[in-house]
């Protein structure tokens, strides 16, 4: 099946990734751990743009940038340098942003996603390094604002801007691309995606192969999908009414779920890029082999290995390798119990319970899930009780073995079930007669009695079979 793309949708994404796992900012020794701090407490003369201050590049930031480039299958440039992008806006006190221009650190690459019609390749145009601007907070609503508060704690944080080709054909594919990118970055351990502002998205969208519109201010992946759905609908309606789409920049209003035109007089040549005289060029080519050695096994490779090594189906392998933490968790579990059982319990059951509670895999221990799997596969508790144990651990805490005891979840021995069956039949002659006389429902009544006598610890299906067998005697 080939996806027809009936509306000729083309989406390209620019993702800003903040390398918040570095200890310091890109050009100065200010700490990156500002997220819970008072405003303007993580700034120095360099990120404040004070006259006479001089930037010096963070070596680790360059390593991380190369690592990201390699993981996205990009070519890495021989030599690069930083440029000044000049614009006057108080989010950067210097009057320019230090960024890369004609020699981005990483060139063309690609990411493979699950597209509308199977595997789909999204091209990466480039990935470059730049500094994050400070944070502006408008006092009051944006149109009636009385002033703007400026906090430079974020100013100078390392950003990697990853620019894709317009290869995505639907908002769903855009979402898959973002998820895959996040997954790869998590594997690389270069950033904490849960921190505010760790990944920010701008999108270019066009329909019917027309001019592209840029949508800015998208702050979440869910927001990206909504913004794109809205923008595609808006463009289609505009064309249907005889309008024409021209290049423009629009702002996504998350609260209202709409995009709004932003008039801008600045064109690219107005940025008057020129080489940053305060920073010497970077020769990165000779560093690449060493960084390549530090690359971990990435999601696609891990998925293939899980299928081969553990005999998992593609769905399980995919679900277990999306998050590096889940993948590592699974492998630990798979060492102790049958990998196929591990896959079912980690991927289908545990992940479901965690998602429902908006918890990450950190909320559960390998030891506990191994205990649950062993209890079930050892025929000590029913599958349903296994699920109940997981829920109890998550909601009330405790160890699986204690929960089994406290809740009396142990499956009862066969002979106890057999006794209960005999008793239930002996004590309810009418129901037995009804059943033998053709009333199917009376069987449920007798099975119910068995469950009552065993306090629900018998497996209901087994109890039913036993009652039937006894009645046939």
């Amino acid at each position: 099946m080939v996806y027809e793309n009936p509306d000729g949708v083309r989406i390209g994404l620019e993702v800003h990734v903040q390398l918040n796992k570095l200890n310091t900012k890109l050009f100065c020794g200010c700490s990156t751990k500002y997220h819970d701090s008072e405003p303007n407490t993580h700034v120095c003369p360099v990120c404040l743009g004070l006259p006479g201050s001089l930037p010096v590049i963070n070596e680790k930031a360059v390593e991380y940038a190369i690592k990201i480039g390699l993981a996205l299958n990009c070519s890495i440039v021989e030599q690069t340098q930083f440029h000044r992008k000049n614009y006057y806006y108080p989010d950067l006190p210097k009057g320019f942003q230090t960024t890369q221009y004609d020699f981005p650190i990483a060139g063309e690459g690609k990411i493979i996603i699950e597209g509308e019609d199977g595997e789909h390749v999204v091209g990466i145009t480039r990935a470059h390094m730049e500094e994050d601007p400070g944070r502006l907070q408008h006092m009051g609503s944006i149109d009636k604002s009385k002033g703007t508060l400026i906090n430079y704690n974020r100013s100078g944080m390392t950003l990697i801007e990853i620019v894709s080709e317009p290869d995505m054909r639907s908002p769903k594919e855009a979402r898959r691309y973002l998820d895959k990118l996040r997954s790869i970055l998590d594997y690389l351990d270069v950033f904490d995606g849960d921190l505010e502002g760790a990944m920010r998205v701008d999108a270019n969208v066009s329909v019917h192969w027309g001019d592209r519109v840029e949508v800015k201010n998208i702050s979440s992946f869910k927001g990206a999908e909504r913004a794109l759905l809205y923008e595609i609908m808006r463009q289609k309606n505009h064309i249907r009414r005889g309008g024409e789409i021209t290049m423009e920049t629009r702002h996504f209003d998350e609260a209202r779920g709409v995009t709004i035109s932003m008039r801008t007089k600045e064109e690219e040549h107005d940025y008057r890029y020129f080489p940053e005289p305060d920073l010497v060029p970077l020769r990165v080519a000779d560093r690449v082999p060493k960084v390549r050695e530090t690359l971990p096994e990435l999601p696609d490779a891990k998925r293939e290995r899980f299928m081969e090594q553990y005999g998992l189906g593609e769905t399980h392998a995919r679900a277990l390798t999306t998050e590096i933490k889940v993948a590592n968790f699974f492998e630990e579990v798979a060492e102790k119990v049958d990998p196929k059982d591990a896959a079912v319990w980690v991927s289908d059951i545990l992940k479901g319970e965690l998602n429902y509670r908006e918890l990450s895999i950190d909320a559960f221990t390998v030891e506990d899930i191994v205990a649950v799997v062993e209890l079930v596969t050892g025929n000590k508790v029913t599958e349903q009780s296994g699920v109940e144990i997981i829920r109890t651990v998550l909601d009330d805490g405790g160890k699986p073995q204690d929960i089994v005891e406290k809740k009396g979840l142990l499956k009862v021995e066969d002979d106890i079930v057999a006794t209960a069956v005999e008793e239930a039949i002996a004590e309810n002659p009418e129901a037995v007669a009804d059943y033998l006389g053709g009333k199917e429902k009376s069987l449920n009544f007798i099975v119910g009695k068995v469950m009552q006598k065993t306090k629900g610890r018998a497996d209901a299906r087994e109890a039913r079979e036993k009652v039937l067998a006894k009645l046939k005697e």
Partner: protein, 93 residues
């Protein structure tokens, strides 16, 4: 040649108000500067690598080690416009 309109545009980019009288004067001065660059342009630079930096060095790095920041009072010492630890600017759109 730099026109009056270009002067006004550059002024806008720098958020500097330039009135009509000034823009004439600036255009004239900027054109004389450009004239000097015109002279530089006469030199034959065929086959010469562009020089971005006068010092022939690459890869000046620092380690990823925290060296500390300034106290908030010092950060805000140069402005009268502040509120709750923030710089305060006029409304921006």
């Amino acid at each position: 040649m730099i026109t009056k309109e270009e002067v006004e545009h550059v002024g806008w980019l720098a958020r500097i108000e330039i009135d009509a009288k000034e823009s004439d004067a600036y255009a004239e001065k900027l054109n004389s500067v450009l004239g000097y660059f015109g002279q530089l342009d006469e030199v034959d630079t065929e086959g010469v690598e562009p020089t971005y930096h006068v010092a022939d060095i690459v890869n000046v790095f620092r380690k990823d080690e925290v060296t500390g920041s300034m106290p908030q009072e010092e950060v805000l010492a140069n402005t009268e416009h502040k509120q709750e630890g923030n710089f305060k600017a006029p409304k921006i759109m």
